[in-house]
């Protein structure tokens, strides 16, 4: 066989909005709206730079529910760029962009092959009319596919080196919807040489040997949980069919979760300086990429009182944003989660035979009936039909987090400033 190379990506979610951002500077709206496109453009640039033979996209190119026209036209533009360099594109649709009538209405350039949803198809990956490998794949026909699609794949024993392209949840990852569920043995049994998967947003190599099974993750993180580098895989197959792969980050805006302790910090300026130093470090670590930082402040210290003061956190965010939040390589401090506490020993307070002691004992070990009562007390908010659409009754874990926050609130409010 002839050696060849391809790029494997998935979960582009083009033009789908960033989630979890409570505030955005007007200057940042455009770069954020463009981020998914920019990341995809970088993938195409990568294809051209590495002179690959094909680009494999394993589903969720966009969020069909959003019906973004812009997204499809942009896709077409990029596919044309690939067509100009004779690079084939193989697409299977996933749960976010099932192959519906709406999808079908769009015509792509000839270098693009979209797999149908009825059955697993096999198409050749060609270079100058010579078949380098065979790509088998299947699209979702509807949003919710509960069938094990992997079982329908089978490598042609007489056929060339084979790639399976599928949007699936292997092994039932709890953090993702369990669509087209299958497990590793299902994939191994098919005899494929490479599995180009999609659906799981964190990139990972599921199987190192033959076949190599990879989730490339989404190339651009879109919510606070999707932190760290995001990108795609460049895969090289040599004449013996041996695979070498490389993860290449292409994200343009990176999410960061930063935890800082206020212990030992005396002055608000110390905190600001520490945060700014951290921002610079992140900037350096992420090779000057734009970033969104969610700060979590912890620890007990004298700064807690300052932070608890009304408007202080907003001021701090304001200063951080002013200094580094809106330039072309911005570091947007998205929010500050204040989990700090007073410089008091809660455990000692908890021991005390007084109201505060009672309060802290309750918060430390709420019994099931108290949890139920608390849950019920939150219902007021959810009696509003509209709010029910957006919010959920917190589960036990959520409730415990609320109790933890309430504990500090109680201390702050019951203890006078001079104590």
């Amino acid at each position: 066989m002839k050696p060849f190379r391809f790029v494997h990506t998935a979960d582009l979610h083009l033009d789908s909005p960033f989630r979890g951002l409570a505030e955005i500077a007007p200057e940042l709206k455009e770069p954020l709206q463009e981020a998914t496109f920019s990341a995809f453009r970088q993938i195409v640039d990568l294809c051209l730079a590495r002179q690959v033979d094909g680009l494999l996209i394993a589903g969720d190119l966009h969020d069909a529910a959003d019906r973004s026209l812009r997204c499809l036209t942009r896709l077409r533009e990029q596919f044309h760029r690939l067509a100009d360099s004779q690079i084939s594109v193989f697409i299977c649709h996933g749960n976010h962009d099932p192959l519906t009538e709406w999808e079908a209405k769009f015509s792509w350039p000839e270098n693009v092959h979209v797999f149908g949803s009825r059955e697993v198809e096999s198409v050749p990956l060609l270079r100058g009319g010579v078949e380098l490998a065979r790509v088998a794949g299947i699209s979702y026909g509807t949003e919710q596919v509960t069938e094990n699609l992997a079982k329908n794949f089978k490598k042609d024993p007489n056929g060339p080196w084979s790639i399976g392209l599928l949007h699936t949840n292997v092994g039932g990852d709890q953090n993702h919807l369990n669509y087209a569920p299958c497990d590793l043995p299902d994939l191994l049994r098919t005899g494929m040489d490479y599995w180009a998967l999609g659906h799981i947003h964190a990139h990972r190599v599921l199987h190192l040997g033959s076949p190599v099974i990879i989730y490339p993750g989404n190339p651009q993180g879109r919510n606070p949980r999707e932190t760290g580098p995001r990108g795609c895989y460049v895969v090289e197959v040599d004449e013996r069919g041996i695979v070498r792969y490389e993860f290449v980050p292409v994200d343009v805006v990176r999410w960061h979760q930063e935890n800082l302790s206020i212990e030992g910090l005396q002055h608000p300026d110390d905190l600001l300086t520490t945060m700014e130093d951290r921002i610079e470090a992140i900037r350096h670590e992420s090779a000057n990429r734009c970033g969104i930082i969610r700060w979590k402040l912890t620890g007990r210290g004298s700064l807690h009182k300052e932070l608890a003061r009304s408007g202080r956190q907003e001021d701090l965010l304001g200063t951080l944003r002013e200094r580094s939040g809106t330039d072309p390589s911005f570091m947007w401090s998205e929010s500050i989660q204040d989990l700090t506490g007073r410089e008091v020993d809660i455990e000692i307070l908890r021991q005390e035979e007084n109201l505060l002691g009672d309060y802290l004992r309750l918060s430390a070990a709420p019994d099931p009936s108290l949890l139920e009562e608390l849950q019920a007390s939150l219902k007021t908010l959810l009696e509003d039909a509209r709010l029910r659409r957006y919010l959920e009754v917190p589960d036990e874990e959520g409730l415990r987090q609320l109790i933890h926050a309430a504990e500090q609130q109680g201390i702050d409010r019951l203890l006078s400033d001079d104590e």
Partner: protein
Amino acid sequence: MRLTSLAINGFGIFRDIDIQDLPPGLTLLEGHNEAGKSTLMAFIRAVLFGFESRKSAANRYEPLRGGKHGGALTLVTDEGQEYEVHRVEGGAHGRVTVFGPDGQRNGDDLLARLLHGTTKTLYQNVFAFGLTELQRLDTLQADEVSHHIYTAGMGTGSIPFSQVIQDLEDEQGQLFKPGGRKPIINVLLSKLDETERSIQQLQVIPDEYHKIRDQITLRDQEVRLLQERVEGATRRVDWVETLLKARPDWERIHALRHELAELLNIDTFPEGGVERLEEGQRALADLEQRRNEILTSIRQAEDKRTKLVPDSSLLEQEQAIDSLSEHREHFRKLLEGLPALRGRVHSRRQALDDLVGRLGSGWDDTRVAQFDSSIPMREQIRMCRDRLIAARLDLTDAAKGEEAASRARREKEAELDRLQRHLETMAELEPTGKIPLEDRELAFREWIQHYHHLELTRQHHQDIERLRAPLADQIASLDGEITLLERQIGLPTWMIAGVGLLFGALGGTAFYINEGFLGGALVACGVLSAGLLLWRRDQIHDDRQRRVDDISQQRQLLVGRTRGLREDSEVSEDEIRRVTEKMDALSLSTADKMWQSLQEVEEGLRSLETERRLVERRKDLEGRIQEQEEVLVRLLEEQESMGWPVAKAEEALQEVQAEWTALLKSLDLKESLTPDGVLEVLANLESAKVQLRDWQESVEELVRKDAEVESFHRQVNQVLERCQWRGVDLSEAAGMVLVLRKALEESLTMRRTLDQANDFLTQKRKEVAAVDAERDRLHGQVEHLLQAAGAQSPEDFRRRAAVHKRRVEMDREHRQLEVALTVHAGSAERFQELEDTLARTSSTDLEREYQVARVGERDGLVEALNQALQEKGRLEQQRQSLERNEQLSAVLLEHQTLLAQLDHQARQWAIRGVTRHLLDKARQIYERERQPAVLRQASEFFKVMTGGRYRRVIAPLGEIRLVVETKNGKKQGTDRLSRGTAEQLYLAMRLAFVREYAKHATTLPVVMDDILVNFDPNRAKAAIEVLKDMTSTHQILFFTCHPHVSQWFQDCVKDISVRSLTQGQ
């Protein structure tokens, strides 16, 4: 702290009252109405906390019966320290003086410290109260009281609990209200509704997009059709337009063709002919002018040359004159210097003659020059001088040496003589001992040794003798003792039998007097005593025998010792004898007499020492004499070995003197001269030599310079002669050289000018020849040009040139027009068609045709096409704008932002909700389990006072009110209690507070003014029980005017102190 006494000066109805020895526990003060009970309580409050202000005159208790307003209290602290607090008139609230246990006078500060900062209000409300204060609940609600009752134990510092709850509720309300509009979450919901509507609207776009795409396809087809038709019409219009535009050019072409046919046909003509002809003619004229100018300058130069004639003879002497000029200055200076030089020759001669004369007769220039005054010669003379001096010095030294040696010899001889005399005197003193000194000393020392040994031996002998003397006596006494012992046998047997018989007799007597038992006993005693005596006698006998043996043994020992001592004594006597003999022998052998004592021998030893010193001194003297003799001999030997130095020195001096005389002779100088004199002659001679050399040098210089001057003068006259000039004197020679020089310069200048004129003429003649050649060449060219143009003359040439030029211009225009029209037409064929058409049609016809094609057909089609394109463009724009529409992205982002905010705010709401709920739970626990200590204590007291009808007093959390709980657990507010029960509750609360206050601050005396009046007897007695209980920690003063109350107290409290008050007494 408690009160021990009160002393009132003047307070209300009281004047000069003393109440002493108040006990620590409960004191009952009885008194009828107006006896002054309330005044007394007011007095205590006033002394501790100040008089009431003058505004409330009634409570100020100004003295009604005279005396100074105020008085004193004596307080004893829990630690047993006594303080006296005085308050008298002064300031608004009186002036305080506190006397401490040390008698020190203090003021308010100490009082405040004693009271632990207790305020007047607190004291009045809780510690010293009457029925009026008791009945009022609000007196328990003053901050410092209520804190202890209502919030102590909350652990909440200064923030009221209810405020916390209220704040949380408010904050939740600001976040969200069901059905509200302004709270943050409600606002967010409205905004979310808006964005959702926008999203729905924007999501319709794709359908619209597909419609537009179809329309664009239709428009595309229409445009293509129209474009084809417009193209056809445009082609037609363009042709007519071309014809119209081409007509003027086409007409001009016709005209040109006609004119060309009429003009003289001159096809060829020299390129630039006219210009070239004119240029040739102009050049010829220029040449002619130049030639004339040159000829004129030649004539002028020739005229000038004839005037130039240089002096040739002078020029021939140029080199000689140059040389003379060069040396002229030197010559002049030489001439000037000659008189001075001659003067110097003369003066030097005179000085030389002086110096030669000073040397003496026989000296002339030759001898001066030849005399050897060189450095070696002078060195020789100086050496002779030094040797003469040295020889003379040697002579003097030798004479001195000889003198010193003879003096030394004489000194030594005198010393020797003195020593020998001394030796002789010593010989007279010397003893004449036969035995050598050393032997005698040895004998002395041996004798002394023997003497000491003898002394010791004698001592030893005496000691032995002293020991021996008593031994004989001891032996004699031991012998006596033995004899005595041997004589004593022991107790005689009769004595024993006697004792036996005595007892037998007594026994018999006893039998006899019918005392059988006594008799038996006496007989038994007798037998026993006899037995005992027998046993004792044997024992004594044995002892005595042993003693005899011991003494015999001792005696033998003593006899042994006596024998030993006798032997020792004999040995020492022998030793004494032997030593004495040795000593006698020694003394006889040494001194011919017997030495009698140690002193004598020691004296002998000392005289031996003197003798030895004498011998040593003599030996020393003899040694020195020998030494001196040796020195003397050595001196004589030395002198002899040295010979006689004076004679030698004289001989050497004579030798050197002879050498000097010889040298003088060799130099032909007087023999009387000393070396220093000769050196002086040489110094003068040296000066003369220098002067002679100087004189000779100046004479030579004069001769040389005279010759130089003469030579120069000769050369000048030679040159003058060659130039045929008159000769000059020596004095004029220098001036003449200058004249010659000037004349030569003039001739040289003239000769140079002449040469330049000749060169100029040669050059100009060459130029004339060149100009002539050029003129011929130009003539040839002009002729050639005329021939080429076929012209007869220059005028003909010019006419033909004008015709040729015109033809060329018309040809060019014609060609240009043809090209332009061909371009217009599009091709050569079309040009032909254009010419044909133009030839056929008139311009009016063309205009008409153009109107029809353009307006009638083409413009209409273009209009329709533009419209179609516009429409298509509009659709295309729409499509692009839909494709590029970022609105959806923006709204989706906005939507997500709002959701994030909603999430955040909902969380804030929830945190506050949870906090509130937990606080409420904690409140319940607190109310149930953690009421303040005051309330717990009050509950106890209240329970006792009400006989168990009520079991608890509760202060609902965060509220300033009380609730009581019956024994059945029923809760009710104070407003529903009967007057008596309420008063019991308030009393219980106060007493509980007093107790609590003691824990945190201090104990203060409690004063109560008839507060039990509304209590039924049972509850009153129960209350008194509580008060009794309180007295374990607090002093209580209870005022009453009711005898039954007094009686109850006395019934309940056994050791109660009761005092009566009557009308201010």
